[in-house]
């Protein structure tokens, strides 16, 4: 799952650093992801993992690191 998340971040996150240099805990916003780019990341995650983020999860904290994104997707797929 981490590889997929990294691929999506590389493609849509418009980060100012190389995705390979990020740890799971790196703050993606501090790595240059704008709120605009985060919307594209959300869309790509929904498409790739076949999940829908409910509105309560559409906030900054949920997408702030690879670990946070993974936790959110795990929560959604566990329910499904």
């Amino acid at each position: 799952m981490n590889d997929e998340i990294r691929r999506i971040l590389k493609e849509h996150g418009r980060l100012s650093v190389d995705v390979q240099t990020l740890t799971d805990e790196t703050d993606l916003y501090q790595a240059g992801m704008t709120s605009h780019a985060s919307v594209n990341v959300m869309l790509a995650l929904e498409g790739t993992f076949d999940v829908e983020f409910p509105d309560r999860m559409l906030k900054r904290g949920v997408f702030e690191s690879i670990a946070a994104i993974r936790a959110a997707i795990q929560e959604l797929t566990a329910k499904g």
């Binding site: 869309l43 509105d55 906030k59 904290g61």
Partner: protein, 393 residues
């Protein structure tokens, strides 16, 4: 037409501001507009009434006013002088950022105590030449040297920059930080200089005195708010801005409709029994004004409620809430122009004349600033993108 909304809290403080609006801001409004000068009478009166610290919690020496009450103050002031109202609103937004995000830092605790004591006025330096109006991106950066920093910003506009005591500035956190990794920095006189780069001869909002400046400052790193600007923006700066601005525009619309209403009454009195033709248009304006008022008050109350709890504060950064804030901004900035235009059509030539008591010129010119303060097209584009992931559940 100016009945207070049933949900508005009509407190003592709001009454004080209403009186200042009526007795001080109003009489100076035309000359402030004509000369494009700072509404110093109104701001001095607000300082004397200790309103520059109105939202500072009571335990820190302020009045602890919430969003609803501040919104009411902005509306009242704008009914008489929109420039004074906007200066007041913009200052309160800066104070809100410090009070809600800086109170764990001793420097900012001391600063707020001084602000309460001296009724300091803070201007905002978020705009920058070269970022295309995007508040969440900076080019300039904080340059640290030990415990000190230097910061130079080419600001495309600083409202009341020359009249303010201190400035709250956005900048990249460090020279190697990406454009959106911003910090909010308080720079204090005399440790900054402003070099004026242009004028402020505008269509409206002329008393806000907002020319471009090159700002050069230095200070101690304690003056940097530790929380990322991203959080300060979504939790405080954006909601306070859109709600207080929206209520300033509501004040402009209310004043215009009130003048139009008075005009229709004089027409009706001249021919009792015959409905003046302008009365229909007044009915239409009144309905638009109610829509605008309900929206502005509703979002202010909701935001005030959310800010009171931890859970609520988290939802301030949700896409759903951001969409609501943005909708308030675009809708009220469009309605204010439509409503003032209606009022002008009702009053006709006496509304068109600048020297009549039904003059609409200043209101119309001030109203047109609303769609430009953070351009509506930019906001629509953001909303369009957020709607792609929002599910309405």
């Amino acid at each position: 037409m100016q009945e207070p909304h049933p949900n508005s809290t009509s407190t003592q403080h709001l009454e004080v501001v209403r009186r200042i609006a009526q007795k001080v801001a109003g009489p100076a409004a035309d000359v402030v507009d004509r000369e494009a000068r700072f509404p110093h009478e109104a701001i001095d009166a607000l300082k004397k009434a200790r309103m520059m610290s109105a939202l500072v919690p009571a335990e820190l020496g302020g009045f602890g006013c919430g969003m609803v009450e501040l919104a009411g103050m902005c509306e009242s002031l704008a009914q008489h002088c929109a420039s004074a109202a906007m200066v007041f609103a913009m200052h309160q937004i800066q104070v809100a950022c410090i009070v809600r995000h800086g109170m764990s830092q001793p420097f900012f605790q001391r600063y707020i105590a001084e602000l309460v004591e001296r009724q300091l006025v803070i201007a905002s330096v978020t705009s920058e030449v070269g970022v295309g109006g995007e508040m969440r991106t900076s080019i300039c950066s904080v340059e640290r040297q030990g415990d000190d920093f230097g910061l130079v910003k080419d600001a495309s506009t600083i409202s009341y920059g020359e009249q303010a005591d201190d400035l709250l500035v956005t900048a990249r956190r460090a020279p190697d930080a990406p454009g959106n990794d911003q910090a909010l920095v308080l720079v204090r006189s005399p440790n900054y200089t402003l070099e004026k780069k242009g004028g402020w001869d505008t269509l409206g909002m002329r008393g806000t005195c907002s020319p471009p400046f090159k700002m050069t400052s230095r200070g101690n790193v304690d003056q940097i708010l530790r929380e990322p600007f991203a959080d300060i923006a979504s939790h405080t700066m954006v909601p306070f801005s859109h709600i207080l601005w929206g209520n300033c525009w509501l004040g402009i619309a209310t004043a215009a409709v009130s003048r139009a209403h008075a005009f229709v009454r004089t027409q009706a009195r001249a021919k009792p029994g015959a409905l003046p033709p302008t009365a229909m248009r007044l009915a239409e304006a009144s309905s638009m004004l109610q829509t605008m008022r309900t929206n502005a008050h509703d979002v202010a109350s909701e935001c005030q409620e959310l800010m009171q709890t931890q859970e609520g504060t988290h939802s301030l950064s949700s896409i759903g809430f951001a969409l609501k804030m943005n909708n308030l901004k675009v809708s009220s900035s469009q309605l204010v122009v439509q409503i003032v235009n209606h009022a002008l059509l009702i009053c006709g030539i006496v509304g068109y004349k600048n020297d009549s008591k039904f003059a609409m010129g200043r209101h119309l010119r001030d109203a047109h600033s609303a769609a430009l303060m953070v351009g509506n097209d930019r906001i629509y584009a953001t909303n369009a993108s957020m709607l792609l992931v929002l599910k309405d559940n």
